[in-house]
Assembly symmetry: C2
Amino acid sequence: MTGILFIVAAPSGAGKTSLVAALLQRDPKLRLSVSYTTRPPREGEVDGRHYHFVDRATFQAMLERGEFLESAEVYGNCYGTSQRWVSEQLASGTDVLLEIDCQGAAQVRRLMPEAVGIFVLPPSLKVLRERLERRGTEQPEAIARRLAAAQGEMRRVSEFDYVIINDQFDEALEDLTSVVRAERLKVARQMERHGRLIESLTK
Amino acid sequence: MTGILFIVAAPSGAGKTSLVAALLQRDPKLRLSVSYTTRPPREGEVDGRHYHFVDRATFQAMLERGEFLESAEVYGNCYGTSQRWVSEQLASGTDVLLEIDCQGAAQVRRLMPEAVGIFVLPPSLKVLRERLERRGTEQPEAIARRLAAAQGEMRRVSEFDYVIINDQFDEALEDLTSVVRAERLKVARQMERHGRLIESLTK
């Protein structure tokens, strides 16, 4: 049985990364795709776990060989998702989660329209700004730039299947967990997964 | 904002009634439609809570006035769902749950195709038979008849949106809860519900 491909997208500051980390902790059957990036590692980031860190020449060569399911350049850094890894996981029945931006999400949907798109929104623009400021790693201009980019991203909300408002973390996590669980209960999937049971019940 | 109409159907013995009761306990925003029936009350059943108990003439008159969203005759007793009550609840933004059979579910979907159909299956034919026997209120012939009817019902599983296997009660309840929660997070619904927030985030 083929796995389900989940896409979780959000503007930076919506709290996507913490939500996804908590979801993965809860759900051992779900695997996160680790992106390739040309961005240098931040403190604490582990190669192969947070990202596959590669140089620009390597990234460019992968891009030219068509190895990315989606890729994007953001603030001068390149990011990409390995198509082969995702396809192998899905083929082996593993559900995969992509934590990417809206641009990437649109690319994935074009190639894999059956992907389930989940968009995470902050509860207000004020909270979004505060979250960006609280990180403390960025200059005011960078924050303003990220805020403008976030607004652009959020205009694409209607391209997704589900929308989660990340106001209370625990509630948003419960939302995300429910979407994953419910998608696994869709009739086509269940008829594939429990085909023999259903046959034995109805014959 | 319009409420969501959930249909929960299952062959008798699948454990639907206990699941639905537990769901309603958990979720005060969800209201169960109370069916009209010509069947006499069983011990402990309360008029207006478990069913609206009416005589056959009353039922027939309601049927002729087109007051039922769905109706069925099962083992000589009539059952029907009030269209007006359901429509009023949905119009006021309340989510409604119908606990009905497959025949009724098909009637509802014809009138309200946006309804979310959930089908509950037993984990095996053996368990289904045991559950029917354990009730102890029925003769062997009645059990055989119910079992054959259940198999007929279960052949219609593909008409539903979600399938839940009621093997472990707690897991099945979690499944049911997740489907309801996830449906509330669908993009069209969220854009309606959080329109002002989304507008303020993207302008």
